[in-house]
Amino acid sequence: MTSPVSHNGIITVPATTDHLHEIREFLRARIRAAGFSEFEENGIVLAVDEACSNLIRHAYHNDPTQSVEVALVIDPDVVTVSISDTATPFDPNSAQVPDMPTYLQERRNGGLGILIMRRVMDAIDYVPCGPTTNRNMLVLTKRRTA
């Protein structure tokens, strides 16, 4: 009924890029302790880093008075990371992602974060703020593979 050892947790950081490192370390320790593979751990950490980088850079413009909240819930076979913010809503599912062969051929730059999130995670769900809350929530889900 109760989980004997919990790897769940929340981290709240100011919306500046120098805190991305803390978010990653927070996730890493917990995902590893929950027995996920290093490969899964690296993928989840990368996807969340991309999502938080986007929030911080594109939504909050590195504003230290704002904050980003990352909540981690680890079930036996699925890791769910919910990232919430109070910025202008932006649904990464609605974004166009580049076609990589063309991208590489044309030596483009940037615009890869959302593609990484999609390649790495099993599901990306975005819930904008609305009548029930002023917070947007991005839910990234990854199932255990082994």
């Binding site: 890029t17 120098d18 991305l20 490192h21 990653r24 290093e38 490969f39 690296n42 990368l46 880093d49 991309e50 980088s53 911080i56 850079r57 990589m100 062969p101 590489l104 030596r107 483009r108 730059n109 940037g110 890869l112 974060g113 593609l115 990484i116 390649r119 790495v120």
Partner: protein, 119 residues
């Protein structure tokens, strides 16, 4: 805490080797960008990036190499990547970057891959 360092040294063949260490993310990518920019401004077009001590890279880090590759190659040079840990290579690989960049197991092999200057 020093999350990221990049140290440059030029060898007798004119190859600049940039040794990366730590974590290359949206915070530290600008640092690397300015370092590579300096290397290029100083006239070097034969660049090897040593990833041996790099623990992490995100898309912001990948972006740095995209910024410079075109112009360096247009000048007859290259940015060759070397000695990546598997977890870092995985990120390059995820998006097909090995098609565009030459990636070598060791710094020495990356350096050898540059044609000799007197050729």
């Amino acid at each position: 805490m020093n999350q990221f360092t990049a140290v440059t040294q030029q060898d007798e063949r004119g190859i600049c080797c940039i040794d990366l260490a730590g974590y290359l993310d949206a915070h530290t990518a600008t640092e690397l960008e300015s370092i590579i920019n300096t290397v290029i401004t100083d006239g070097c077009r034969r660049i090897v990036v040593n990833f041996a001590d790099l623990e992490y890279i995100s898309s912001a880090g990948l972006g740095v190499f995209m910024v410079f590759i075109e112009s360096v190659r247009a000048d007859g040079g290259d940015i060759k990547l070397a000695a990546m840990k598997p977890k870092v290579f995985t990120v390059f690989d995820l998006l097909g970057f090995p098609v565009l960049f030459e990636i070598y197991p060791t710094v020495e092999e990356a350096k050898q891959a540059f044609p000799s200057l007197d050729a």
